[in-house]
Symmetry: C2
Amino acid sequence: MGSPTAVSAGQDHQKDRPEGEPRRSEVLSPSSPVVVFPEDAPLKLESGQLLAPLSIAYETYGTLNAAKSNAILICHALTGDQYAASVHPVTGKPGWWERLIGPGKPIDTDRFFVICPNILGGCMGSTGPASLNPRTGKPYGLDFPVITIGDMVDAQVRLIDHLGIDELFSVVGGSMGGMQVLEWTARQKTRVATAIPIAAAPWHSAQNIAFHEVGRQAVMADPDWRNGSYYEHGVVPKNGLSVARMAAHITYLSEKALQGKFGRNLQDRAARSFSFDADFKIESYLRHQGSTFVDRFDANSYLYITRAMDYFDLEAAHGGKLANAFLGTRTQFCVVSFTSDWLYPTRDSKAIVNALNAVAANVSFVEIESDKGHDAFLLEEPEFHATVRGFLTAAAVKRGLA
Amino acid sequence: MGSPTAVSAGQDHQKDRPEGEPRRSEVLSPSSPVVVFPEDAPLKLESGQLLAPLSIAYETYGTLNAAKSNAILICHALTGDQYAASVHPVTGKPGWWERLIGPGKPIDTDRFFVICPNILGGCMGSTGPASLNPRTGKPYGLDFPVITIGDMVDAQVRLIDHLGIDELFSVVGGSMGGMQVLEWTARQKTRVATAIPIAAAPWHSAQNIAFHEVGRQAVMADPDWRNGSYYEHGVVPKNGLSVARMAAHITYLSEKALQGKFGRNLQDRAARSFSFDADFKIESYLRHQGSTFVDRFDANSYLYITRAMDYFDLEAAHGGKLANAFLGTRTQFCVVSFTSDWLYPTRDSKAIVNALNAVAANVSFVEIESDKGHDAFLLEEPEFHATVRGFLTAAAVKRGLA
């Protein structure tokens, strides 16, 4: 079978970049490096379908050592991407985990080689529903196969193989990133030295599924969605995707954080307008969250990724016993949750810890006191950052990484 | 000024009932009794606007005694209506509070005369955005004035005056109904003997506003909403309203109830479909909740009523001190909350109780242990029902109501 093709970063197919569509151009020609696995090396998906070609776009930070023993894989969340510690090419904003990743930071790029791929199903250069379907030459849309968290991990394994890395020093991720961390440790028992699943869950609850279904129905209710083929019509289901993002965003913050940050404060006015304007700061904030999201994210990717999360159930996948997922693991775990996270609350992390304990795994568990809700893993939380730094440092010393 | 006109129940303007639009006909010609306050007796709204004519549609159960001292006013919630204990004329379903209201039931119609009006802004016969605007002869749509919970209460006062009742034996309601109960006791200090605000709050929190704003944006994103004038176009923004209902419905149930009732169970299938079908029971359930709601509810009413709830802040309305709302109250209160209600949690009810205590009001407080979430007030909760029965019975005995 053919060899994967590494395309250098920033290779720019100007012809693929229609005016005013910076996001779409990142699908076809990402600003980051991308490796392409050809037609004759398809990825076998959990659904049984084969996917080829397969592009994995990724960013790296720091330097891989000669022994290739200092690599840390960062798994991103639902709406994240490979730009964890570098400027986002569409929004121009700093990376989403600049607080964690960099020289001297908790995930120290002076010491570690950090790899952050865009997930399978994403829209920043890895193969997803906005990518071109080789059979038609047009974007996949709903012809893209439904994928799973396990499929995302299998795609990442390809990248790690391509980079010549046998064992990852660590796999780290929050939220859906944490689900990928768990799948990595379950699927690749010899290739993950340490793992940090953060604000994650071993399965998606009914309430988790419910919120995602609301978001999907909002997207699908938008006439501009056009049954997933909006690309060809030069439109984007922005209203539906915006509503989906607004609903999801509420679940990322704690009730207390919302009250503390916004309360019932009015936005740019002294009194209620007796209209449907965004009188309240919280309304204005949510509308802003919705409208900026649609500029950088693909609506179909949102459908496919939320579906993958809803399908995630590491317990069911292992005969109804979560501990079975970790049988024979040699990975050293640090499980992290946040007190005010009601999306994936501490009890979900405890289920992971209990399962790991049941197979006598090496696991530490830290519940961080925070009122920032689920999004705490992305925000300024010194105790959380100290936890990550301490765990990685100790493990590095133990493994002789200078 | 002209006298209000009582229209007998079931007066049926067949010409107003287009085929297949049972809901719309209930707006114009409700199945229940309705009293119409004429053009020259406008209701002055909190916004300063005047509203006329004003229709209040209502149901009654039981018999008003000669002293007119046994009347209980029931205030309904966001999507409720006057059919609290009688068959709904559109859905054919039993009343939404049949568990509470009836002969021998906690709100005993052998003893009490129960009045349940459709709220101002509603869509079952009381004046709302779907009603005809006398200036144009067309439905109001967005020309309907933005209303408040206080306006709803002021409209109900008109009805109670019309029925010749000086003092209500009790005012009872859950959720937004509980907010009306609080406004009744704050605005009509001499006319409410007892009050039962259930699963209520003295103000809408940032998270409450946030969920409502998502719902409103979902409705407004639907092209069939047509800036609120969909009536004239023979369409209904059903997709948007359905999404709004789905999102709201999640907040009515506890995470535990959702998990217990649905979990990750699949709907009519043995395995995941690897598609966007409603694989999970919770998805199927939510879609059903959305689609049935649009058959009985007006989208603009949903906008106006959620807005009224968001505007509700009894503390701000009384100089920033909630206790001021109840200064001089003679009402005997029974405040009820449910342990698993995360929409209006127990701390909101405790804020009400604290304010009542601060003015030395007669108040009892009961937190009901329940895993049913906010909707517990509508469901089978024997301890809750016993609480209502006990409070009303004791108060009736005290007041010499046989």
